[in-house]
């Protein structure tokens, strides 16, 4: 006859309670009380979009408030020496670095920005170009003292957040002339979105692009079984995962405090941003 009390409870009563696993908690963010709230400047709506590297890495194990403050100071100092323009994934840029082995001691590379990342002084971006039928990608650290000049030749956005699929696309989509002239936008115009649909080479690819929900590629033309498999790997519930979203962001109050810190220099940053949009190509004579 089955007992009324389930066996599971009997087993667990004599078991020791589970060992207290130390799950480190992140305390709620409290606004900076030292700052003077009278002349507080409101957070610009595009601050986090134009200067994303000023925001720290949201992972708590990588946070260090003092280091972040010191880095932001150094970043502002560096920006006062070399103007780092506003750019997005899909913008075509030219970077001049110091090269002791070159004849004129500089090395210039033109390419399309396929990815960017990093926080603070370690912020980087990747430029891709195809030279002599060879695809080339160079990663530049934005605040490296070796960088002499960064100019944006064509400021635009793309439909995707990362253009790594250009590695598997036809070379014409990654080829840009090295002597490209900068294309100027009218003053105050929004950043144009290039809705080009890129054609990929036949498989094999570097990644399973059919699973990445890419907007900027033409129809991949794969057999149906690929799309069926891709559907099994989809995670539609992640769209509603509020805590995953929260853990990946810096809260609004913290962004406002970070902006207050750099607010004295913001005018300078914005004027140099507007200038770099207006400036004609200057041959680097360093």
């Amino acid at each position: 006859m089955l007992s009324a009390v389930p066996r599971r409870i009997f087993h667990t009563f004599f078991r020791k309670p589970p060992a207290q696993r130390v799950t480190a908690k992140v305390p709620p963010y409290i606004r900076d009380q030292d700052s003077n709230t009278d002349n507080e400047q409101p957070l610009p709506h595009d601050f986090r979009i134009v200067y994303p590297e000023f925001l720290p890495d949201p992972r708590p194990e990588w946070r260090n408030r003092l280091r972040e403050r010191l880095e932001r100071n150094d970043m502002l100092t560096r920006r006062s020496v070399v103007a780092i323009p506003e750019f997005y994934i899909g913008s075509i840029m030219a970077v001049t670095v110091g090269d002791p082995n070159a004849s004129d001691k500089t090395n210039r590379f033109v390419g399309i920005c396929i990815s960017r990342g990093g926080t603070g002084l370690r912020a980087w971006f990747n430029l891709r170009n195809v030279i002599d039928h060879q695809g080339l990608e160079i990663m530049y650290e934005m605040y490296s003292p070796l960088i002499r000049n960064i100019e944006v030749l064509r400021l635009e956005k793309r439909l995707d957040e990362e253009l790594l699929y250009l590695r598997d696309a036809l070379p014409e989509y990654s080829t840009f002339p090295l002597d490209m002239e900068p294309e100027l936008l009218p003053e105050g115009a929004p950043v144009p979105i290039n809705d080009i649909k890129v054609k990929l080479k036949p498989r094999p690819w570097h990644e399973r692009w059919e699973r990445k929900n890419l907007q900027g590629v033409q129809d991949l033309g794969l057999p149906q079984r690929f799309y069926n498999k891709a559907k099994l790997h989809e995670k539609p519930w992640e769209k509603y995962d509020l805590m995953m979203e929260y853990r990946a962001t810096i809260p609004e109050e913290e962004q406002a405090d970070i902006f207050q810190e750099i607010a004295p220099h913001y005018q300078q940053l914005e004027s140099s941003r507007r200038q770099s949009k207006r400036r004609l190509a200057q041959t680097s004579r360093y």
Binding site: F13, K25, P28, P52, L55, R116, G118, E245, T249, E254
Partner: protein, 185 residues
């Protein structure tokens, strides 16, 4: 990559959260964790007080706070917020309750919207940490004893002594002022 997500501006949570999410493996599979959280949040909004295990409560607390703050910020006329409420609250009367009852209750609040109290372990259930998860402003009797030290004899006597001292000081000041006026005349 390893930059903060910048597409959305989110207000800070007013509760402490674990650095990493808790896994909650369950037979439903990959979406089971969120389903479990959804059930907990739904019940919290419906009944405003519930007794659960600590880990589940702590994780669901974050989701509940986020849901309420999204509802406060964007309101019910905002389509993505409505879809979010639709996902998180499978019982549709709770969607109404969220926007019509909880948003007015919490919209001017500066503190967290939820509270957690430790609950006793009752023999013979397994030795898991039990807590009571509740929304602030719920209609039930409070679980915390609100103790105040003002009625302690020490404090009453000190207050009286302070008052007497102030009275004496004002009298002295008045007398000094009168003396000065006499001298001037």
């Amino acid at each position: 990559m390893n930059q903060a997500e910048i597409r959305k501006l989110i207000p800070a949570l007013r509760v402490a959260v674990t650095a990493k999410k808790r896994r909650f493996s369950n037979p439903r599979g990959p979406d089971g964790r969120l389903h479990k959280m959804r059930t907990t949040v739904n019940e919290l909004i419906k009944n405003e007080r519930m007794e659960v295990n600590y880990n589940r409560a702590d994780e669901a607390r974050g989701y509940a706070e986020r849901l309420i703050s999204e509802a406060i910020r964007y309101g019910d006329c905002h389509r993505p917020t409505m879809e979010l409420a639709d996902f998180w609250l499978p019982e549709k009367q709770n969607v109404h309750k969220l926007f019509k009852v909880l948003v007015p209750r919490f919209k001017d609040s500066q503190v967290s919207y939820t509270r957690i109290h430790k609950a006793p372990h009752v023999y013979p259930s397994p030795l898991f940490d039990k807590v009571v998860l509740e929304l602030r402003g719920n209609p039930f009797p409070p679980l915390e004893k609100f103790t105040t030290k003002r009625n302690w004899i020490h404090n009453i006597l000190l207050e009286e002594a302070h008052r007497e001292y102030l009275e004496k000081k004002y009298k002295q000041q008045e007398q000094e002022q009168e003396q000065e006026e006499e001298e001037v005349q």
